[in-house]
């Protein structure tokens, strides 16, 4: 019963953290609805005395729409590849008795620890040699490959929770591995599949290093690179710059509202297991 007494110290810390997260986000939103002159006069702390949405339309004039479209293409393709490759992989990791497959699992565990920077030079080399430099395909492939380890870990954790009785029942019926996969494993791991979809989408959406290294022209720029560019070119126009930051968050927030559970479970799965 004692546990249900309020924990003042932790509560205080929580409120402090709330301010630390909430205030900058509020300040950012407040800045983006001011004119540049108004912001220059008032600074970031004072209450805004002007209101305008020009900063948002301005971001689209600077090519934000194009970047948005490119990011959507990259994200959708990465999620497609992950959903195609990871469920069979996780199924094999959980159910296969082959020695090779347990080796593969260890390989993907090792892959979790490989940072993208470690291999960015060879990937640049491979992508250039394949003629995919400055092409969205060249961004999609490595981004998808680097989402595989985490997604395999999450989904195999979910599939491991399917009780052995169910597998045995299907085995007695003489079901082939493909039938077990289609009729038992896939339907029962729908939650996990949603999680890896959200997770890989978030990674692709927020990806920076691969686009930075592997693309060059405006026509292949994704949102994160667009922000970086805005910052280096229009750094003084802080309301315009932050409006672009806010716009870059909107789709993620929408996904978050609908898929919060899937995302949080996936993130917990990373460390919990």
């Amino acid at each position: 019963m004692k546990r249900h007494r309020p924990n003042w110290l932790a509560g205080l810390g929580a409120v402090a953290w709330l301010l630390l997260v909430g205030l900058p986000i509020y300040v950012m939103l407040a800045i983006t609805v001011q004119t540049r002159e108004g912001y220059g006069r008032n600074g970031p702390i004072a209450l805004p005395d002007t209101f305008t949405l020009d900063n948002y339309t301005g971001a689209f004039d600077e090519g934000f729409g194009r970047y948005l479209l490119n990011t959507l293409v990259v994200t959708a393709s990465v999620v497609g590849i992950v959903l195609l490759l990871v469920p069979p992989l996780a199924y094999a990791i959980v159910r296969s008795r082959s020695r090779l497959t347990s080796g593969v699992f260890r390989l993907f565990l090792l892959g979790l620890a490989i940072p993208a920077q470690a291999v960015i030079v060879p990937i640049f080399y491979l992508i250039s040699k394949a003629g995919l430099y400055d092409n969205l395909v060249g961004v999609i492939l490595p981004t998808a490959a680097f989402s595989l380890p985490v997604c395999a870990l999450i989904l195999s954790g979910v599939m491991r929770d399917i009780t052995p009785d169910l597998y045995e029942a299907m085995a007695i019926d003489g079901a082939s591995p493909a039938r077990v996969f289609g009729q038992l494993v896939l339907p029962l791991s729908r939650g996990g599949i949603a999680t890896i979809a959200v997770f890989s989408a978030l990674q692709a959406w927020n990806g920076f290093l691969f686009p930075l290294i592997l693309t060059q022209s405006d026509s292949t720029k994704v949102i994160t690179l667009g922000l970086y560019n805005f910052q280096t070119q229009y750094g003084i126009n802080i309301p315009g710059l932050l409006a672009a930051v806010v716009l870059s968050m909107v789709p993620v927030l929408l996904v978050y509202l609908f898929a919060r559970r899937a995302l949080v479970q996936g993130l917990m799965g990373v460390g919990g297991k």
Binding site: L20, L85, Q117, F124, G174, Y228, V252, G271
Partner: protein, 313 residues
């Protein structure tokens, strides 16, 4: 048409016949199910890992083919003061990150796992930075901390001359702060998940033994969170050593080379100076250092043995 419909069941029957009915492999998928993902992953993660070793012994400027130069890149790096400094800096920033983030995320995570009202709403806001890309976070803080137009200029009592990016200490403080702002929610989430999994019976037992709140935290929660803590610290170490976008956007490695961490130095060498051989060598060094430190953390903590007991549960 007719041959395929005839052939298909025959093939299935043959496969069934070869398998011992009721045997252990019945209805179990073979390695073939893992093959497509493995090949794909191998091509983009493992082949490059081998290739980075090869490239570190070559000279390549991005055009034409790499030329073998032996240990040349390595010799140059050993004499490069920026390189040596960058390694210390990476370790310093990582250590500061771990020291700042671990207690805070532990506190927030344990709190968020508790039974308070409004917790769901509050945690949703807590975890907001998780959704933002490192780019968005860095651009946001770069703007908010801008020497001329940002918060420091308005609060000289707190920030002095306001140019946080102009001094070594200031720039490092900004990087640690922004990194913590971005990653504490993630680590808090790890601790939250682990704290929820602590069996309530342990707290009841502790209470019977007369342990107060602090005693329960110290003797039940903390030991039970050991696994989570090691996972979290390993992730912080690897993440910290490979921080890149934050530095590129916030400080550009400056002032001077005061925040040129190893990953940023690699980027500058390879993609700004077009010295891909040196870039590959730095990248390789980075992987080795990150792996060694992670292994040390795992070994010292006994996590490898613990993981096997976890799998038995």
């Amino acid at each position: 048409m007719s041959t395929t419909t005839l052939a298909a069941p025959t093939a299935t029957e043959q496969r069934r016949a070869r398998r011992s009915p009721g045997g252990p492999t019945l209805s179990r998928p073979g390695f073939a199910w893992a093959l497509p993902a493995t090949l794909f992953f191998g091509l983009f993660a493992l082949v490059p890992l081998v290739l980075v070793v090869v490239l570190s012994f070559t000279s390549w400027a991005g055009l034409g083919s790499p030329e073998y130069v032996g240990l040349d890149n390595w010799r140059r790096l050993a004499r490069d003061p920026v390189m040596i400094n960058s390694l210390w800096l990476s370790v310093l920033l990582t250590a500061l990150g771990v020291l700042v983030q671990t207690p805070l995320s532990l506190l927030i995570g344990v709190w968020a796992a508790g039974p308070q009202r409004n917790r769901a709403v509050l945690s949703a806001i807590f975890f907001l930075p998780l959704l933002l890309s490192a780019t968005a976070v860095s651009v946001l803080w770069r703007a908010l901390l801008d020497p001329n137009f940002g918060v420091p200029g308005q609060a000289p009592w707190l920030f002095g001359d306001g140019n946080l990016f102009g001094s070594r200490t200031g720039a490092i403080a900004v990087l640690v702060f922004v990194g913590s702002w971005q990653f504490i929610p993630f680590h808090a989430l790890i601790y939250q998940g682990a704290a929820r999994a602590v069996p309530a019976v342990l707290y009841q037992a502790a209470e019977v033994d007369g342990a107060g709140r602090w005693g329960q935290f110290r003797h039940v929660t903390l030991p039970q969170l050991r696994n989570a803590m090691i996972t979290s610290v390993v992730l912080m170490v690897v993440g910290g050593l490979t921080t890149f976008d934050t530095v590129l956007i916030l400080t550009q490695g400056g002032p001077g080379t005061d925040t040129t961490i190893t990953a940023y130095h690699m980027y500058e060498q390879a993609f700004r100076s077009f010295d891909f051989g040196a870039g590959a060598a730095i990248a390789l060094l980075l992987v080795v250092v990150a792996t060694v430190i992670s292994l040390i953390v795992v070994r010292v903590s006994g996590y490898d043995r613990m993981r096997s007991t976890m799998e038995g549960l």
